[in-house]
């Protein structure tokens, strides 16, 4: 659905069902240069399981207008304001990549409404190399292409896909091309500049789940494993794929998330 938020047209994927604020809401936060389409196979799945689902296109991403947020903190404040505007009081945040950093910051801001945190291919820090930072400014399309190829495991190279007929590379590139050209550079700088991760992770009081990828080139497994050590009682799973876990291993990811959610109060 499209809403007017902070003076800009803002798109929220709802998994093909209407939003019911009285239900538990799963709020999916996309990664750098992505949009709601990185959760194609999660949004509908959980909406049809009876949850309320929102997958916001962050400003200047996907179908949303507005100016890109310029830091992880700004992203988190934007999401917080959105949840307040929508009057959502029972929320599980599910971040992918950069979305995990935003989730960490939201953990500081959201008070009673936050019920759990789910980190997909996450860490407490996402340093970005200077080459990619520069390229995202000079040639965002090329930078996107590189991220799409780095980001996928062997299934990307081999055009293997659980969704019959789909190509991770072709689809991934075009998803990133839907964003405003400046979106990627602010995302990557936001990730690179973020330094609150350790404190934020130690501060998590709600139930937490982390699903990491064995062949992750963007947020390496080693970094993810250090991250989950910082969180008290973080349920952790490792799947055999690349960084784009939601499209590479949709069924496994959905089933892990689903059983975690079913244990929540």
């Amino acid at each position: 659905m499209i809403i007017n938020f902070k003076g800009a047209e803002t798109y929220l994927g709802t998994g093909g069902k209407s939003l019911d604020i009285n239900k538990r809401t799963l709020c999916f936060l996309h990664g750098s240069g992505q949009n709601h389409l990185s959760f194609i196979q999660q949004a509908r799945f959980f909406a049809y399981k009876g949850y309320s689902v929102i997958v916001p296109d962050m400003p200047a991403h996907g179908f949303s207008d507005g100016n890109p947020c310029k830091s992880i903190k700004e992203n988190a404040e934007w999401i917080n304001d959105l949840l307040v505007k929508l009057n959502l009081k029972d929320v599980v945040i599910i971040g992918h990549s950069q979305g995990c950093l935003v989730a960490l910051e939201l953990n500081r801001i959201l008070k009673n409404s936050l019920k759990a945190l789910i980190f997909v291919a996450g860490s407490n820090e996402i340093p970005v190399n200077q080459f990619l930072l520069d390229l995202s400014k000079e040639n965002p399309q090329k930078a996107s292409q590189m991220m799409v190829t780095w980001g996928h495991g062997i299934d990307g190279d081999m055009s293997i896909n659980k969704w019959p007929g789909h190509s991770h590379y072709g689809e991934g590139n075009n998803i990133m091309c839907m964003n405003k050209p400046t979106a990627l550079k602010y995302d990557l700088h936001s990730c690179n500049d973020y330094s609150n991760g350790i404190d934020a992770a130690k501060n998590i009081k709600v139930p937490a789940l982390a699903v990491l990828a064995k062949n992750d080139q963007m947020t390496p497994l080693k970094s993810g494993l250090k991250f989950v050590e910082l969180i008290k009682n973080c349920e952790t799973h490792i799947l055999d794929c690349g960084h784009f876990l939601p499209s590479e291993r949709p069924m496994e990811l959905n089933s892990i998330i689903n059983s975690f959610l079913s244990k929540l109060k």
């Binding site: 994927g13 093909g16 996907g62 190829t149 055009s159 293997i160 789909h166 072709g170 998803i175």
Partner: protein, 431 residues
Amino acid sequence: MSENYKFDTLSLHAGHIPDKETGSRAVPIYQTTSYVFNSTEEAASLYNMEVGGHLYTRISNPTVAALEQRLAALEGGASALACSSGMAAMHLVVSAICSSGDHIVASSKMYGANINLLQHTMPRFGVNTDFVNPNDPEAIKSAIKPNTKLVFGEVIGNPGLDIMDVPEIAKICNSKNIPLVLDATFNTPYLMQPFKHGANIIVHSLTKWLGGHGIAIGGAIVNGGNFDWGDKDKFPTISGPHFALGGISFWEEFGPSALIAKIRAEGMYNFGPSLSPTNAFHLMQGIETLPLRMKKHIENTHTILDFLVNHEMVEWVKHPDLDTHPDHEVAKRILPKGSGSIVAFGIKGGREAGKAFIESVKLASHLANVGDAKTLLIHPGSTTHSHLSSEAMKEGGLTDDMIRLSVGLEDINDITKDFERGFKAVKKLNK
């Protein structure tokens, strides 16, 4: 680290890795109509398009999917869908995008069935087409109306071998927010990848060079994922609410793969032109050697062009790689590896000479197909168009002395020897 495999490697591998259970190196033929659900929940999630997977072979099948994913990789597209024939692919695209009252701009020089579908069949359903010269981008631009929903043509036209200036035409379509749909059967992704030149949707007859062995009919649609379907008034079938699945908007839910999702949910469900898994396997075997075959097709074509151009019995030769072809410059620019292996030539002596030639050659097969590994010939004047007068044929851009040749992979000296036999018979006739 990603390997970023190149074209030749993808031709062999894309879409399949050996499965863990059996280790089968070749893509298995999943000769099944349906798939056991692990739970009612799983069944529902497939029906609701919550996640990808197979539920019934009319909609998708693992062997067919391997072919689709190979094609998506070779074309650099977001997704692909394979179906029962090239014509089925064409009809699926038109019927997914257009509704009664809509308009199409199409090339006037195309394969007969492509023309017939748009000229005679679709108007019965309220979809009308204006045909324009494919090598005149300005004419295409002026033919676009407010209700135009797609521009269609063949990269290399059959049988006239006109070449579309794809980058120029793509610019026009892009500026008018209309998808450019191209039949890329004659070029295959080996000679040219239309998405790199700005096209949005590709249809293939896999029957021809992609399959390459004249053993299976098949077609495919490859979706570039590079078109914005967001205008709900203009493209209601893609971005407006669907009649099922809770009024899903394919554009919102599937973005770059919206068109393929729409075609699976409507065209494959309601018309059902599915490709058999066994044919998908045969076609994929062909694709494994596409780069090798295309190289040899082009090499042989260039040798035969030399032979024909210099032959005393040949009146004229038409191929875009010859500098006498009106589209030669465009061909050099967009098809630098060569512009395919179809050659048209005229035999001195008209219709009777053509007939005598065809009846005397032994190695080249006289039949109605193109793109086989074997050399094929047809003389429209004594077969497909024999009911037409010379004048009527001319109006359709054909002449009665014309032979259409699909150059195969034989030792080219055996082919030229075979042709000499044909020319000898014509000489006898002319005496």
